[in-house]
Amino acid sequence: MNHLDSLKLGRPRALILAAKNYAPLMVCALLMLARPAAATTVIARFGPPATGGGGTNPVSLPPALVDTEISVVTAGKMEFNISVCPGILIGKRFDKDGYYGSGGAGLVITQTGGGIGGYAAIGYETSGTVKFNADFKQAIGLAASGLLSSYALRIGAGYEF
């Protein structure tokens, strides 16, 4: 049965037949055009953290390790933040119109040591495969020496895989 024959059939049967014949092509086209709605994004941010040592910290050029933060945001909006300061923090991100808020817990690190604590962040991130990111993150932790507090205002770029 060719396609001309299918035209002689009733419309439902013709549609089914066409779908069977063209299904592989349609699937291929969808796979080529479709893009995951959300994917894992890796972000590198740079900027000086305030380590709780008093005063301000100058920017290092090029950025030193303490000025650098790597974040991984999964498709499920879990956020993994790795930096010397404010620390190693895992949380949940909530997006809205490019802006986001996030919060979670982890190891808060300051000049006087490290401790377990929580963090909150707000930021802005553009869409696309390559993203601009600006992020303000503040953290409070508890250690044997008392309360720890630190923050970082950083900007950077992300790449969505």
């Binding site: 301000t56 919060g103 707000i122 923050y151 205002l153």
Partner: protein
């Protein structure tokens, strides 16, 4: 909080130790943002202005020491500084009943330390607050 949703805050605090008195006034205005997937928690972004005053009530001994070391007849007794910066933070509604709202906030008022340093270097006033509000 204005009907437009803008949030304005004035905070004043200080301390006194010996002859030294410090006073800080922070005036801030911000836009609450529903960033956390609901109304319970909100992010805040805005502008903050800080005014800090340090005053030393010079005693006879301090005056005598200052005069002896600086060759001036009047010691510097008052220092006032003002700065403008940004407000970042989160606020959460703890409980609400009949127009009365109990809330808490965790705010960072971030200021540039001066124009002689590279941008992104900042100083901060961190405020953790519990507050009660009434809808008018």
């Amino acid at each position: 909080m204005a009907p437009s949703g803008l949030l304005g805050t004035v905070m004043a605090y200080g301390r006194q130790f010996g002859p030294v008195t410090e006073q800080t006034v922070i005036l801030s205005g911000g836009q609450p943002l529903d960033l956390f997937g609901g109304k319970t928690f909100q992010g805040i972004v805005g502008i903050s202005v800080v005014s800090e005053t340090t005053e030393i009530k010079a005693t006879t001994e301090i005056k005598a020491t200052a005069n002896a070391t600086s060759n001036t007849t009047d010691a510097a007794q008052r220092d006032q500084s003002t700065n403008i910066g940004a407000l970042f933070g989160i606020r959460g509604q703890i409980y609400s009943v009949k127009g009365i709202t109990f809330a808490g906030s965790w705010e960072s008022h971030v200021y540039p330390p001066g124009f002689s340093v590279i941008a992104l270097s900042t100083g901060r006033k961190q405020l953790l607050t519990l507050n009660v509000g009434v809808s008018l």
